[in-house]
């Protein structure tokens, strides 16, 4: 598919500079590469936000991005997003048990 884009003179100059840095001469291919990287990055950030907002699980995020769970965790780390999404607590029952301390916990089936 062909798409016509309008670019400012300055942006074209910067693209050409980038071409010369990389030793390439195909402006078309460079723009495609930059777009691909940018789209992938935006998609990752969007999905990471869904995770942080508690709208998707890690597995669902991984599925959207077409990666496995390990890779999804790596993506969050690269985006500097903690696995807890920056919020605490996620499970008040667990927090309550922690605050009560081990002596009163019933994490054993015999309790």
């Amino acid at each position: 598919m062909k798409i016509t884009l309008s670019l400012s003179d300055q942006l074209v100059t910067e693209l050409d500079e980038l071409l010369s840095f990389n030793g390439h001469d195909d402006r078309n291919r460079l723009i495609q590469k930059l777009l691909r990287e940018s789209v992938a990055g935006q998609k990752q950030r969007h999905v990471a936000q869904l995770y942080c907002d508690g709208k998707k699980t890690l597995r669902q995020c991984a599925e959207i991005l077409g990666v496995d769970l390990r890779k999804m965790m790596d993506i969050l780390r690269r985006l500097n997003i903690p696995l807890d999404g920056g919020r605490f607590p996620h499970n008040k029952l667990a927090l309550k048990l922690l605050r009560q301390g081990a002596k009163t916990q019933s994490l054993h089936s015999s309790d």
């Binding site: 508690g54 699980t57 890690l58 965790m73 780390r77 696995l83 920056g86 922690l98």
Partner: protein, 153 residues
Amino acid sequence: MQFVVDTSCLILLQKLNWLDEFLCHAEDIFICPPRVMQEVKNDKKLLKWLKIGTVAVIAVNKSMSITGISETDNEVVALATEKNWSILSEDLLLRQKAEKLAIPAFNLAELIVLYYQYARIDQDACINRLNALFAKAALSKTAYRELVEIIKS
């Protein structure tokens, strides 16, 4: 302690080289549903560990259909419900959904605090491990502060 463990937590433990330390206490039992085990087997690094480590696979008798989470997530919650055990997972939404069903769900940082409370590790070791989790971006500053406060209280 008895937990239904999720793949996310196993991956994090593996990344930190803590699998053996945390999952090999004789007095603890870690189980997982079949779908989680399949994920574990699909992950080369976890599969390698599985040859020496143990997580028992228990089939879910009665499946659940909690909206907004995946089938594997549903299996984790269903197994925890059946067994009346806690969940061990890093997943934010999974842990929130578990709360609505009155299931305690811990993440690794909270398991570390439990280990301290059960006198498995001392306070310094506990804080060092939380620092390591923080450095790996597995733990937010907010959670870190709260957990340190619990440890020191």
